[in-house]
C-alpha cells in the first residue's frame, strides 16, 4: 500500500488498493516535508564552504563562440573567489526561502529547484575551472558535447517511455543499445553503407525487444528478470562475435563508414545553439524528431490514448475493445527499434568501430532519465541532457587538469543520476500497470 503514496487524497486510505472513496474533494494534499529544504540548505552550505570560502583565486574563462560561428562573442571571465561567493550566497538565499516556505506549510515550487540546480552548476564550474592548471574552457564546446553524449541516452529513455507507458518494464535498454551498436557496425562495414547499418540497428533493437515482449507478455515471465537476462545475453553474444569474427578481419567486418555531421548553412553558425541544433549527424537530427513524434503521439493521438490506457488500466482498455497484449507487443517492439537506432550512434557517429561493451551501462542511465523525466518524452530528453552534461563535464575537466582527482570526476555522472532520481524531483508516479502482466478474466 505504500506505493499509493502519490495518489494523495484526503480521506482516501485505499483499503486493498481499490474501491476509492471519493467523496473527498479534489485537493492535492501531498504533505509538505523537510526533505527539499534540508537538501537545498546542505548543498548551499557545501557551495559556500568549497566554492566560496575555499575558492581558488584565479580567473575562470568561459568561451562562448567557436571558430566557425558567423559572429564572435567575447569569452566570459569570472574571478573564481568573487563568483563563488556571490553564487553561494544566492544559493543560501534560495534554500532559506525554501525553509521559510516549509514553515508556512507550503511546497517548494519547481522553479526554485531548477534555479538552484542551475546556480549550483555554475558555481561548481567556476570553482573547477578556476582551480585548473589552464583556467579556461569553451562553454559552447561543453554544451555541444553534452548533447552529443546525450544522444544514445535520449533514444534509450524514449524506448523506456514507449515500453513503460504501455505497461512493460524495459530493463533491456542496455542490451538494445548494444545490439544496435554491434549490428550497425557489422552491417555498415559489409555493405559499406551507413544508412543500411542504421536500419539494421533498428531491426536488431526490435528483435531484442520482441524477445522481451514474447516472454513477458505471452509467457508472463517476470519482466525485470527477462530484461536482465537479455542484457547479459546480448553482451555475451556481441562479445563473442567481436572476438571471433570482427577481430579476425576488422577491415571487412569492423570498419563501418560513419555518418558525418550535416551542417545546415547559416543556422549552424549561431553561437551555442547552432552546433546543438544545426550541426548534427543524421542520428542527432533523428533524436529531435523522435522526441517530438513520441510526445505528440502519446498525448495527442488516438494511438497514444490507447497506449496510455493499456499502461494504466489494461482491463478498462480491454472492456472497450482494445487488444491489450497486441498493443503491448508492438509498442515494446517499437521501443526496441528506437533504442537500436540510439545504439548505432556509438559505432556510426561517435567511434568508427565496435568494441566490447561499447554502450558502457548507458542503458541504465537512460532508465534513470526516464524516471527523472517522469515517463514523459520531453522530460526524459532534458534528463538525458543533464546526464550527458555531467558526463561531458567530467572529461573536459579532466583534460584541463583540476585539483580534484579524476576518479572523483568520473563519479560525477552517476552521482548526478542518483541525486536526481532519489532526491530532488520528489516522488513521481509511473504508469499504474507497468510491470504487471495482463491476464484476461
Amino acid at each position: 500500500m505504500s506505493t499509493t503514496v502519490s495518489s494523495s487524497k484526503p480521506g482516501k486510505p485505499q483499503p486493498g488498493g481499490k474501491g476509492p472513496d471519493t467523496r473527498a474533494a479534489a485537493v492535492s494534499a501531498k504533505p509538505v516535508t523537510w526533505k527539499t529544504p534540508v537538501l537545498l540548505t546542505a548543498f548551499g552550505l557545501v557551495a559556500l564552504v568549497f566554492f566560496g570560502l575555499l575558492a581558488p583565486t584565479q580567473t575562470a574563462s568561459f568561451g562562448i563562440s567557436t571558430g566557425s560561428d558567423f559572429f564572435q562573442l567575447p569569452a566570459v571571465e569570472v574571478n573564481a573567489f568573487a563568483g563563488g561567493l556571490v553564487l553561494s550566497i544566492l544559493l543560501l538565499g534560495l534554500s532559506g526561502y525554501a525553509v521559510y516556505l516549509k514553515t508556512k506549510d507550503r511546497h517548494v515550487p519547481g522553479w526554485l529547484t531548477v534555479a538552484f540546480i542551475v546556480l549550483f552548476t555554475a558555481a561548481f564550474l567556476i570553482w573547477v575551472v578556476g582551480g585548473a592548471r589552464t583556467p579556461s574552457i569553451s562553454l559552447a564546446g561543453l554544451i555541444a558535447g553534452s548533447v552529443t553524449l546525450a544522444v544514445p541516452l535520449v533514444f534509450g529513455s524514449l524506448s523506456g517511455v514507449l515500453c513503460e507507458r504501455v505497461g512493460v518494464v524495459n530493463i533491456a535498454i542496455e542490451g538494445q543499445l548494444l545490439g544496435g551498436a554491434f549490428t550497425a557496425a557489422i552491417v555498415a562495414s559489409v555493405t559499406q553503407n551507413p544508412l543500411i547499418g542504421l536500419l539494421a540497428a533498428a531491426v536488431a533493437g526490435a528483435v531484442v525487444s520482441m524477445v522481451l515482449a514474447l516472454f513477458s507478455i505471452k509467457y508472463l515471465v517476470n519482466q525485470i528478470i527477462v530484461g536482465v537476462v537479455l542484457n547479459v545475453l546480448v553482451s555475451g553474444v556481441t562479445g563473442f562475435l567481436f572476438s571471433t569474427v570482427m577481430q579476425e578481419d576488422s577491415d571487412r567486418f569492423n570498419s563501418p563508414p560513419g555518418l558525418d555531421a550535416i551542417e545546415i548553412p547559416v543556422l549552424s553558425g549561431i553561437p551555442i545553439i547552432g552546433p546543438i541544433l544545426f550541426r548534427q549527424s543524421l542520428v542527432g537530427y533523428l533524436m529531435y524528431i523522435a522526441v517530438l513524434v513520441v510526445w505528440v503521439g502519446l498525448f495527442k493521438t488516438r494511438w497514444g490514448l490507447r497506449v496510455r490506457a493499456v499502461g494504466e488500466h489494461p482491463q478498462a482498455a480491454d472492456t472497450l475493445g482494445i487488444n491489450v497484449n497486441a498493443t503491448r507487443f508492438w509498442n515494446v517492439t517499437l521501443g526496441g527499434a528506437v533504442a537500436g537506432i540510439g545504439g548505432s550512434f556509438f559505432t556510426l557517429v561517435a567511434i568508427d568501430s565496435f568494441t566490447k561493451e561499447i554502450s558502457g551501462g548507458r542503458g541504465f542511465i537512460a532508465l534513470a532519465a526516464l524516471i527523472f523525466g517522469r515517463w514523459n518524452p520531453i522530460g526524459a530528453f532534458f534528463a538525458a541532457l543533464l546526464f550527458g552534461f555531467a558526463d561531458n563535464l567530467q572529461s573536459i575537466v579532466t583534460i584541463i587538469g583540476t585539483p580534484v582527482p579524476s576518479q572523483f570526476m568520473a563519479m560525477l555522472p552517476y552521482l548526478v543520476t542518483v541525486l536526481a532520481v532519489a532526491g530532488l524531483v520528489g516522488k513521481s508516479r509511473g504508469p499504474a500497470a507497468s510491470g504487471i502482466p495482463y491476464v484476461k478474466g
Partner: protein
C-alpha cells in the same frame, strides 16, 4: 437514438475447467424494460453478463439480437451491437479526464488520427444535460466521487449508443441517497427507450425498480418472479430454501465498559490522517457497528486496534490495558479475535489445509504444540470439531483452504477466531461475498458471542447488515466519527451521516430514534451508560 432491440440468451453455458458457472441459461430482455438478474454472490450473474458483453466466450448456447443470432469476439463487437456495461469495479483510467475515458476505444479523430476531444466534450455535455448528470468533462476521474464515476461509466455506454445497458451490482459502492439517485436515472433511461439488465442481490432495490425478475441460483435460472412478490419469497427463491431475513436477536444487555478508544489517530504513509481523533467505547454484551462508505478509515481503525498500523497515536484500552504500541501477538493474547475484511489475503493461508488454518493463532500453544514440535493429532481433532460446529463445507480437514467457497472460507476464519475465549471480537465485513444462507448463520454466531458477554465491533459497508446486527451504530466519514446513534435509526439519517452530515443537523427526521428515548447522541463521546 431509440432503436428497439430485443435481446435473447438461449442455452448459454459457461464452464471454467470443471466448474459450471452458467448452465443452459435462457433469458429474454424485452425492449425498454428493467430486467433484474437476482442471485447470490457466486450464482453466475456476472459470468453470464461477461459472456453477453463478449468478455467470455460461451461454451455452449447463443445470443440473439432481434431474433438474429450474433457472436461476439470481444467487447468491441458487443458495443457495436448496442450493448453497454457498467462493471462492478469501474473500468475507468484514474489518471485520465472524463473526456479521455469516454473517448477511449471509440475516439473521434481529426486528420491523421489526432484526437478530437472537443467532440467528446460536447457529447458528454449533451448527455449530461439530458439526464441531469452534472459531469465536468475535464475533471480527472480519480478526483471524482464514486457516484459520479458511475455516471461517467453510464455516459461511456450511452455515447456508444447502447440500447441495452448492463449494470453489475451498481449499488454496492453507493450511499443510500446515491442509490436512490441511481434508481431514478435507471427509470429515466428506461423512459428514453434503453433496456437495462440490473444485477443485484439487494431485494429492496430490485423490488423498487424492476419490471421483470429472473432468479439465478448455482448457474441455473430457477424461475422468474414478479416485482410485487414478497421479499421473503424472493429470498427463498434466491437461496433455494426458506430463510428468515429478520435476525431474531434479544435486546442487548450491556454490562460494564471494557473497551475504550480515545483520540485515536492513524497517519497513512502519505501523511493523511486516515483515522482522525476518534473516540468510542463498547460494553460487554453489546454490538457496536461501524458504518460508512468504504474507504473512510474503517480498515485503518481495525488494523490500528490490532497493532497492524505504524503511525498511531491516542489510546486503545481493553480491560484497562493499553493496546497501542503492543505487537499483534500481544494484542491477540489479550483476547482480541479479529476477522479481517479480506479473508483471502489476510484471513487465511490458501495453500495450507483447513486444519492448519484453524490453528494459525494457536499453533504454538498447548495442546497443539509441545516444546518445539506440533501435535498433528490434536490439530486434526480440533479441525473436526470446528468444521462440525460451524458447518464448514469442505471435502476434508486436509483440503487446502483456498479451494473452499467464499462463504465457507469466512466460516473457517470465524471458527478460528471464535474458538478461544475472547475479551473483544472485531469482524470487518463479516459477510462480504457470502451467500445468504451463510449470512444468517454467521450473524447468529456474532450475536451468540455478544450474548456470552463479549464486546463486539462489526465494521460493515452494507447498511442492511449494520441495521440488523447493531445495538449502537457509529458512522465514520473521512476518518472522523460523524456520530454514534442507537439501533433503529432510520436509513435516511444513516445515509446522510455516511455523507458526513452529523445527526444533530437533521435530527428532525421523523423515524429517527425509535429505540432510544432520545433522537440523537452527540458526536465523539457517546456515554457508555446511554443504551436502553
Amino acid at each position: 437514438m431509440v432503436r428497439v432491440l430485443k435481446l435473447e440468451l438461449r442455452g448459454i453455458t459457461k464452464r471454467f475447467g470443471s466448474l459450471l458457472a452458467n448452465d443452459h441459461i435462457n433469458l429474454v430482455v424485452e425492449p425498454g424494460q428493467i430486467h433484474c438478474l437476482l442471485g447470490e454472490n457466486g450464482a453466475g450473474k456476472s459470468t453470464l453478463m461477461n459472456v453477453l458483453y463478449g468478455l467470455y466466450e460461451p461454451s455452449e448456447g447463443e445470443i440473439l439480437i432481434d431474433d438474429k443470432p450474433v457472436s461476439f469476439r470481444g467487447p468491441g463487437d458487443a458495443m457495436a451491437a448496442g450493448i453497454g456495461m457498467v462493471h462492478q469495479h469501474f473500468m475507468l483510467v484514474p489518471v485520465f479526464t472524463v473526456a479521455e475515458n469516454v473517448a477511449l476505444g471509440a475516439e473521434p479523430t481529426k486528420a491523421a488520427r489526432f484526437l478530437d476531444l472537443d467532440a467528446t466534450r460536447s457529447r458528454i455535455k449533451e448527455i449530461s444535460d439530458q439526464y441531469g448528470f452534472d459531469v465536468d468533462p475535464d475533471a480527472l476521474v480519480e478526483d471524482l466521487p464514486v457516484g459520479v464515476q458511475q455516471r461517467v461509466e453510464i455516459i461511456k455506454a450511452l455515447v456508444r449508443n447502447a440500447n441495452v445497458l448492463i449494470l453489475d451490482e451498481p449499488t454496492a459502492v453507493l450511499t443510500p441517497q446515491e442509490t436512490d439517485e441511481l434508481l431514478d436515472i435507471m427509470r429515466q433511461l428506461k423512459a428514453s427507450g434503453t433496456s437495462i439488465v440490473f444485477i443485484s442481490h439487494k431485494l429492496r432495490e430490485v423490488k423498487e425498480v424492476s419490471d421483470t425478475i429472473t432468479v439465478i441460483r448455482r448457474g441455473k435460472v430457477v424461475g422468474t418472479a414478479d416485482p410485487a412478490a414478497s421479499t421473503t419469497d424472493l429470498a427463498s427463491m434466491m437461496v433455494g430454501r426458506a430463510v428468515s431475513l429478520v435476525l431474531d436477536k434479544a435486546p442487548a444487555r450491556p454490562q460494564e465498559k471494557t473497551f475504550e478508544v480515545r483520540d485515536l489517530t492513524v497517519i497513512a504513509p502519505n501523511g493523511q490522517h486516515v483515522v482522525d481523533g476518534l473516540s468510542l467505547d463498547i460494553s460487554r454484551g453489546e454490538i457496536l457497528a461501524v458504518a460508512g462508505v468504504q474507504g473512510n478509515g474503517q480498515t485503518e481503525l481495525t488494523e490500528a486496534i490490532l497493532g497492524l498500523q505504524e503511525r498511531v497515536s491516542g489510546s486503545v484500552r481493553l480491560d484497562g490495558k493499553e493496546l497501542v504500541g503492543r505487537s499483534v501477538k500481544e494484542v491477540l493474547d489479550a483476547g482480541v479475535g479479529f476477522v479481517p475484511e479480506d479473508r483471502k489475503v489476510d484471513g487465511l493461508v490458501g495453500t495450507f489445509s483447513v486444519a492448519e488454518n484453524l490453528v494459525l493463532d494457536l499453533y504454538d500453544k498447548p495442546p497443539f504444540a509441545k516444546g518445539i514440535s506440533m501435535s498433528p493429532a490434536k490439530i486434526m481433532e480440533n479441525a473436526k470439531a470446528r468444521i462440525g460446529e460451524f458447518d464448514v463445507r469442505t471435502p476434508s480437514a486436509a483440503a487446502a483452504a483456498g479451494t473452499l467457497s467464499g462463504g465457507n472460507q469466512q466460516k473457517l476464519v470465524m471458527a478460528r477466531e471464535l474458538s478461544r475465549p475472547l475479551r473483544l471480537f472485531i469482524a470487518s465485513q463479516p459477510t462480504r461475498g457470502v451467500d445468504v444462507g451463510s449470512i444468517e448463520f454467521l450473524h447468529r454466531r456474532i450475536v451468540a458471542e455478544r450474548d456470552q458477554g463479549t464486546p463486539v465491533m462489526i465494521v460493515s459497508t452494507e447498511l442492511d447488515e449494520v441495521m440488523e446486527l447493531a445495538d449502537r451504530i457509529a458512522v465514520l466519514y473521512k476518518g472522523k466519527l460523524v456520530g454514534v446513534v442507537p439501533a433503529g435509526t432510520s436509513r435516511d439519517v444513516l445515509g446522510l451521516m455516511m455523507a458526513g452530515i452529523p445527526p444533530e443537523e437533521h435530527s428532525h427526521s421523523p423515524q429517527a430514534g425509535q429505540a432510544a428515548g432520545r433522537t440523537t447522541i452527540n458526536t465523539s463521546d457517546a456515554e457508555g451508560g446511554d443504551h436502553a
